[in-house]
């Protein structure tokens, strides 16, 4: 579904992402992990079109998408969530999601259809009431809103950036279960960046580990936990 090859991004002389390559299969949940500054978010930004790569190729369902502007990447079926939710505080809950439904769809849809899709997406992530102000939403609800906005664009690939950050244990369990549900019920392929390793390792099919912008491991979660370099670079950092 997604083929990333030789992907690089330099900021001046600093290589934020360096020659990263990986493939993603349809229906998979791929974990993308690494210590702070390892290049996870930059990789997300490159795939989502928020940044242009310095080199390399990103092919989505056979078509080259590297360098496409973000709105076009969204139209062809990729959506992303943010580590720190960024709702439009002056808009209502439904308006926040309906905007994504209306503009993020590949085809032109009526405003009534956008609203229907927005309400569906909000229901999917667990909002029981649509008449909630975005002002008073807590961390868990904001994460749900973030997810609903991404789902409203009807993506085939979801880039989920730290969906568990800032949540308590029960909320984390719920959020992780939600990602599994999105995969199984909606058939959406997911790349998931996360710092909470226990839950991620339980949910993902495969894991890629980045360090200093380079891929140092790709394989099954159990293998990652036993890999000496991963333990040294990633888990070693986590324990300090």
């Amino acid at each position: 579904m997604l083929e990333v090859s030789g992907l690089s991004k330099r900021f001046g002389h600093f290589p934020a992402v360096n020659q990263v390559s990986f493939n993603l299969r349809q229906g998979e949940i791929l974990g993308l992990i690494g210590p702070n500054g390892s290049g996870k978010s930059t990789t997300f930004n490159l795939i989502a079109g928020a940044m242009r790569p310095s080199a390399g190729s990103i092919r989505f369902e056979g078509a080259e998408i590297s360098g496409l502007p973000a709105h076009k990447v969204c139209h062809i079926g990729l959506a992303r969530t943010f580590q720190i939710p960024r709702p439009f505080r002056r808009l209502s809950l439904v308006e926040n999601v309906a905007l994504a439904a209306h503009f993020g769809s590949s085809e032109s849809i009526a405003e009534s259809e956008a609203r229907r899709r927005a309400e569906n997406a909000l229901e999917t992530v667990g909002f029981s009431s649509m008449k909630v102000s975005t002002e008073g939403l807590g961390a868990a609800a904001l994460k749900k809103l973030e997810l609903a906005r991404a789902l409203a664009t009807q993506p085939r690939l979801l880039l989920a950036d730290e969906s568990l950050g800032g949540l308590d244990h029960a909320e984390m369990e719920h959020a992780a279960a939600m990602l599994e549900t999105i995969r199984t019920r909606l058939g959406i392929t997911i790349i998931w960046v996360e710092h909470i390793m226990g839950l991620l390792m339980r949910v993902v099919d495969r894991v890629i580990v980045l360090d200093h912008g380079e891929k140092i491991f790709e394989g099954l979660p159990e293998a990652a936990a036993k890999d000496a370099r991963v333990t040294e670079v990633y888990l070693g950092h986590a324990r300090t």
Binding site: H71, F82, F88, L99, A100, E111
Partner: protein
């Protein structure tokens, strides 16, 4: 009611009527700044272009006034979009000072172009509207018409920004530019639409002002600085703030004009602005 009270009341009413048109201009300038984050110093010059369009279409080519007004609104909307494509779009990522210099340069370009094409003659559309007499109070029908139309324009803009997804996207992009692209919104399209809507508001203001003022290449200077002051006073980019500030400034001008003279009233308005900038530099209703 004494004669003094009546004249004062007349001045207050005229201030409210003037406030309507100034509010319309402030809405246009604030909309563009709020969405695109560039201050169009040359905004009032678009009004001047609209007044000339209306003058030539109605007086020279004999178009009916309403058709000429419609053409001027569409024409200035197109001019706004063109200005965005040719001047603003290439400098979107530049330093604010460069953007100010570029739009300031456009001000002089448009003034000079108008002088070159039409000379410095003052031209009048020649439309004489009646004066309404309410007891001892006289109200200019053209001002009343301008106020009513400006209010309708402001309500239409409010409905567009709150009821259509394109309008909601404009409000949203003013809050977070980066995320809009990732939600599938083409920023360039939103910016272009905003420039056209801002231009259309300037075109509408031109239709209303041409009923009260002569057209000449420097007519923009009569409204540009005061519109900019109103926007800053209300909180740059804050449309409600700009709307309120327009009526405050217009009352200072009207009441100051009644007690002193119109020149002194503008001095008072500027002094009020400067004092407010010391007390509340972020503007009256800044968030």
């Amino acid at each position: 009611m004494t004669r003094v009270d009546i004249f004062l009341l007349e001045a207050v009413i005229n201030g409210i009527l003037l406030g309507g048109v100034l509010a319309l201009l402030a809405l246009g300038l604030n909309l563009i700044f709020g969405v695109i984050d560039v201050v169009w110093i040359c905004y009032a010059e678009l009004v001047m272009c609209g007044m000339y369009m209306l003058f030539w279409l109605h007086v020279f080519f004999g178009w009916p006034i309403l058709l000429a007004c419609l053409a001027a609104i569409v024409g200035v909307a197109g001019l706004g979009a063109l200005l965005h494509l040719l001047v603003i779009s290439p400098i979107l990522g530049s330093a604010p000072i460069n953007q100010l210099l570029a739009t300031g340069g456009m001000l002089f370009f448009l003034q000079s172009l108008a002088t070159l094409l039409f000379g410095t003659d003052f031209r009048n559309i020649g439309l004489r509207l009646p004066v309404i007499e309410l007891g001892d109070i006289f109200i200019s029908y053209s001002r009343l018409l301008a106020f009513g139309t400006a209010l309708i324009g402001a309500i239409a803009l409010y409905l567009f920004l709150s009821r259509t997804y394109l309008g909601i996207a404009m409000r949203a992009i003013a809050q977070d530019r980066e995320i809009m692209g990732l939600m599938g919104v083409d920023q360039r399209r939103i910016y272009l639409t905003t420039s056209a809507v801002g231009g259309a508001l300037a075109g509408l203001a031109a239709c209303l002002l041409v009923l009260q003022y002569d057209v000449h290449p420097f007519i923009g200077l009569s409204f540009g600085p005061i519109t900019f002051m109103i926007c800053v006073l209300g909180g740059l980019g804050n449309m409600i703030g700009g709307f309120v500030a327009a009526f405050i400034m217009s009352q200072i001008i009207a009441i100051g004009g009644y007690y002193f003279s119109i020149e002194i009233s503008y001095v008072l308005a500027f002094v009020f602005f400067i004092v407010l900038m010391f007390l509340r530099p972020q503007g009256l209703l800044a968030r």
